[in-house]
């Protein structure tokens, strides 16, 4: 049986940074009636590299849901994750690209690794997504369902 994992990365107390965990919460709700999510391992992470590796090691499909700056707020994109290191300036000194590169060195990449990244606008202290980012939760969750469906 395929092992499928969805990892929502972020901090729900930093507004739009809580996008990943929010999508995972939505998926947990959907799983009760959506057979495409049966058996899918739903996780929330702060992006710490060792935990990310542990979460996706041995998975056939891993979907990382995260938020980024620098794009049109509320829009989202699907990325095949790069295997090269990026400048290590993220929250725990390791960007997602560097984590992927480390996984590559250690033969810990899942068979298929996809990132769904929404562009946030508000990263201050506090709970609750901005309206534009909240609007992306449902379509991203739907895309996760498509990606997570058994092949």
């Amino acid at each position: 049986m395929e092992r499928r994992v969805v990892i929502g990365v972020g901090n729900e107390y930093r507004r739009d940074d809580g996008f990943g965990p929010r999508v995972v919460a939505e998926l947990a709700e959907r799983r009760r009636h959506d057979p495409r999510l049966a058996g899918v391992d739903l996780r929330v992470s702060d992006g710490e590299p060792a935990r990310m590796l542990e979460a996706w090691t041995g998975a056939d499909v891993a979907v990382v849901v995260d938020v980024a700056r620098g794009g049109p707020p509320g829009e989202w994109t699907e990325l095949a994750l790069p295997r090269t290191a990026e400048p290590a300036t993220s929250g725990h000194g390791f960007g997602l690209g560097a984590t992927v590169a480390l996984a590559h060195e250690l033969d810990r990449l899942p068979r298929r690794l996809v990132a769904l990244v929404a562009y946030g606008v508000e990263f201050g202290f506090g709970t609750g997504l901005s309206d534009v980012v909240a609007a992306a939760v449902s379509p991203v969750a739907e895309r996760v369902c498509e990606l997570g469906a058994p092949s």
Binding site: E48, T89, G91, G93, F94, L106
Partner: protein
């Protein structure tokens, strides 16, 4: 090499620290004029956020301050709330809390040793480069870290932001059979932890020392983690409830962060080196033996050697976890009642990075009317700045790139958990 007397170095990001912040060094006429470590303090945000919440909520809310040390926040919050309510948890619950805390120490220390700090000593830019050359070492680190993760998941419900902790104890407690597989993994982890001490003891440590007063919890008979009273190397001894009498926080012009100092005494340092220096006699015989073989002596005043202390504390945490599992008796109830009352309560525990203090005031309805959180990284700011000023003064002949790189390494010695306090760490060395 530069021959300028006035310099400005600006580095856009300091890598391999927990979280983000800003660092400025100003050199004028060949003299270090100013060193500022800027962090913006989410604990201040959380303190406001906690007001008006029920007395049962701080452990869950404050756990979100940091993904690396959520247990520390939960344990200090529980200790403070239970103190306010006049409740002491039974020894069986206290032991389970200590076991959970061991998991966090293992996880946090091993992350820092292998992925963040060791590359500095071995000439690698990152753990990724280390993994390319020495995959076996990184694999060992990840395996050892997983032992901590497993403890966190088994007792806390999950490895990040554990959900099983509550005021008065836990929502559910594990059966002894749930912990038995962990014990076997911890036996292997103990060997890996001892190998880690031997490995890091062989690193080359720059001869750099400090004379800061050091502060830690202490508890006669065992290495203090989740309880104890406070002592300093300068001879201060006081109960946790008197923390604010002895530790004064003040605003400094250059930062939104508060700087802590000991009243009438000045800067101080908390964290693994302080714990070791004040409490090494309470380490287990095996951890003591490992420390001695690693050449640590009775105190640690070279910040570069903090990596060895973390490795020794990892040995202790693994061994202590095994001991606690062997002695484990499920509590008759997962939690004891904690009825609220109008009172103030104080709690402090040893987070991986140092003493973490919480205070809460509750009203008669059990609502939080005020909260105070003093994380270790904020306490260490003044001492780190002092170290950096001396560090830079002795290295002004270095070019900006190398000087900045070495400053980053010096900051990493303290494993600053700036994610407890900020969201980006820029390093600026200004020579003007």
């Amino acid at each position: 090499m530069t021959h300028r007397h006035d310099r400005l170095i600006d580095v856009p990001g300091l890598a391999r620290v927990e979280g983000e912040g800003a660092m400025h060094v100003r050199v004028r006429d060949g003299e270090v004029e100013d060193v500022r470590l800027e962090i913006y303090e989410p604990p201040r945000f959380f303190e406001a956020f906690l007001r008006g919440r029920r007395h049962t909520e701080p452990p869950d809310i404050t756990a979100r301050i940091c993904g690396i040390c959520p247990v520390a926040y939960q344990m200090s919050a529980c200790a403070a709330i239970e103190d306010a309510c006049g409740v002491t948890v039974p020894p069986t619950i206290a032991a389970l809390r200590r076991l959970l805390y061991c998991g966090e120490w293992i996880e946090s220390h091993v992350l820092h040793i292998y992925l963040l700090h060791a590359p500095d000593f071995l000439g690698y830019d990152s753990a990724l480069d280390l993994a390319r050359d020495r995959r076996d070492l990184v694999e060992r680190g990840l395996a050892l870290k997983k032992a901590g993760n497993d403890l966190m998941e088994a007792i806390g419900g999950r490895a990040i932001h554990p959900v099983n902790v509550r005021v008065g104890g836990f929502y559910r407690t594990p059966a002894p059979a749930d912990l038995a597989p962990l014990r076997e993994r911890l036996r292997t982890a103990l060997d890996q932890a001892l190998e880690t001490v031997r490995w890091v003891a062989g690193f080359e440590f720059p001869p750099f020392y400090h004379d800061h007063e050091m502060l830690a919890l202490t508890e006669p008979g065992r290495y203090a983690i989740e309880s104890g009273s406070i002592v300093t190397t300068g001879g201060l001894e006081f109960g946790v409830r008197y923390f604010e009498r002895h530790v004064v926080e003040e605003h400094v012009p250059h930062s939104t962060a508060l700087h802590a100092h000991l009243a009438g005494r000045g800067r101080y340092l908390t964290g693994p080196a302080a714990r070791y220096t004040l409490n090494q006699r309470w380490l287990s015989p095996l951890a003591k033996e490992a420390a001695e073989a690693a050449g640590l002596g009775t105190q640690c005043r070279n910040p570069y050697r903090s990596i060895v202390v973390r490795a020794v504390e990892t040995v202790y945490a693994v061994e202590e976890a095994i001991r606690l599992i062997d002695a484990y008796e499920p509590p008759p109830f997962p939690a004891v009642p904690v009825p609220s009352r109008a009172a103030a309560g104080y709690g402090a525990t040893e987070a991986p990075r140092g003493t973490l203090f919480h205070r809460y005031e509750l009203d008669a309805d059990g609502m939080v009317t005020s909260a105070r959180i003093v994380p270790p990284t904020a306490q260490n700011q003044a001492a780190v700045e002092d170290d950096l000023a001396r560090f830079v003064a002795g290295r002004l002949d270095l070019d900006d790139h190398l000087l900045t790189h070495q400053c980053e390494q010096a900051i990493r010695n303290y494993d600053p958990c700036i994610s407890c306090a900020t969201h980006f760490l820029d390093l600026h060395v200004e020579r003007s």
